[in-house]
Amino acid sequence: MHNFSANKKRLLLFVLFGWLLLLVGDRVGELRQYQGSFVATYTLAIASIILLTGYSGQLSLGHSALMAVGAYAGALSINNAHLHPVIALIIATLVAGLFGLILGFGVARLSGPYLAGTTLALAVSLPSLANQFPILGGEQGVAFDVGAPPARFGEAFSQYKWFFWISSLAALIMIWLISNLLSSKYGRSFRAMRDNQVAAQLTGINTGRLKVTAFTISAGMAGLAGGLLVMLISGVSPSAFPLSLSFSLLTGAVVTGVYSLKGVMLGGLVLVAIPEIADSVVNRIGGSEGFTATLPGFLVSALLIAAVLFAPNGPGQLLKKKH
């Protein structure tokens, strides 16, 4: 056991965690399974932001647009080409990755506010572009139906458990792959580039190519998350990817600690838990409709400020300091 390499340890940890999720999914009700699926999906999307921003130093405000690309690709694969859902999700990843590659070539020269502005413009314009192509179904969009769970799981196996399995497994596999990547030479190159681009270039790192690589992988992950998201809401349409989604995900990334993939699930949990907390607060103390509607936004903002003030590198960093 002492001969375990870091990679094998990581694999074992992911398998153990997957087993834990499997048991959790079996024991909780449908609502928690559904919420768990959202946690997995948001976790994956946040991981894609952390990879791009935290590791390669590029700031994207337009991840909802990349998710939309994957979502549409997946929906068309299922709905129009009648492919298997797993293949549709892989296509969602690849198409968004390809889109990221092309975009990466365009934006690799940009940095800081220019890059943020470009990706922001993308998030604003891309979903409404979908209205211009009849195959994308206009405002109504395209259905994304993964179908009933396989019959061999039995009758009691609900749609929500099926969602939970698919999204958790997809997120686990993807994040495992990425954490392997980040502990390899690529991860070190990413960090070197993020901390000092000139120094990285001096050590022989091709920063231009590396930026494009990061953009491509991040876009692929976002595309998969987009595919999962529209699976959970059973269809894709432009309004499913509002600008606010990009900002929520970024908030999740900041709360998690943008420089580390460890504990990325926290971000997903926060995004799903905040409306829940707001709900129970309102139930307990009552309040007007306006109060109910604005409380989640207020909580997210408060959390964001608290995170930036007290734990800019994530709660994990805070624990480390104490030692």
Binding site: H2, F4, K9, L12, L13, L16, F17, W19, L20, L23, V24, D26, R27, V28, G29, E30, L31, Y34, F38, S128, N131, Q132, G138, E139, Q140, G141, A143, D145, S158, Q159, Y160, L229, L232, I233, S234, G235, S237, S239, A240, P242, L245, P275, E289, G290, T292, A293, T294
Partner: protein, 429 residues
Amino acid sequence: MKRFSIVSAVVAAGAMVLSIMPAQAADPGVTATEIKLGVSTPLTGSAGLAYGKVPGAMKAYFDYINANGGVYGRKIKLVVRDDKYLPTLAATQTTNLILKDNVFALVGALGTATHTKAYAAAALAAKNVPDLFVNTGFSGFGNTTKFPTTFTVLPSYAMEAKIMSKFIKEKFAGQAVALVAQDDEFGVDGVNGFKAGGLTIASTTLYPTSSITDARAKALLTGLSAIPGKPVVVLFGTTDVTALIFKAAESLNLVSKFTWIAGSVGGDANTLLALGVKSTTIDGAIAASFFPDAKDTSDEYVSQFMKINEKYNKGVSFDNIVLQGMNSAMLTVQALRAAGKNLTRTGLINAVQDKGATFASAGRVPLNYSATSHIGYNGYWFGQLNANGELKPYGGTLSIFTTDSAAGAVEASTFTRPAMPKNGIPTNS
């Protein structure tokens, strides 16, 4: 290594604890004293501004019924959740209504792109949850294989376009027709309806709702003003766009150049006036409707609902949206009564299918519920707005037309609606 072992141990221990927790059971939302209903609808955001009054109006009517004995002794509780007109929120909020709030049935959901997704995400078909009186005219909800438990209340946009075609052909023969429609399922349903109605259209403009501006509206009207004679301009979009186009016509001095016809969605006079359209502009404009005018206090439904609104919905002005909400709530109470004292989800669905066509409602056109049709109103009447924003029957007499969403003919109807139940409290069974 040590840290890894600790993490693994914690994960494994957690798994074991979870494996002895019990599974959960579901609750249908009906007790001896209460019926819990739910609605996911926009309360905030731009759609919330226009339609946010619907749940409040429904609640007010339910409160009124509760104060008068409820439905067979059960009080109605309406759980309202805000979906901001976003599909993701509609899916999660509707799922919350079913799984967390454990509602018995849904009533009065609003929106097409949102509710189609919410329906599948919340597994309403599999759970057999009645999905009553959805506020959309999207004809796709009439597909009972895909939406077996859904009943919409508005006539479909296709019906409206077909009926409007007949009206224009009869009343404005010889005038060129220009169609200005919104570029989504609503407008496209309409365009197909005009085709099915056999109306010759000289110019069709489809605009994406997000990109119509004052400048584009002016350019559009300038283009249309080149059509000789007095063209009929059909506005098939939401009220804010109707207002934008009217205001553009005002500043270009083109109001009297056209005969204006607004669809039922975009022809709400109160909203138009509130959005700054001059009363002289809407004076004479033609609009389609299936309801009485919300300002017509001589209408027994309008006057009764106004009274309820004053007492149970304090501070909210009475308009078409409030009328619509109260009307849906009254239909719901009748459906619950028709389902009998032993209330089940299947019983409620059957009650609307079997008896829904006979329910008392404010609509001036028939309700068309049956085992094969889950679309409510199936007709329209045409009226002309006056400077006070009141819609009066076109030509002085109320003429009603009915049709279906497909290729069926448009027919004149002699429908007289059932009388308002005494004091607005249904006693049907």
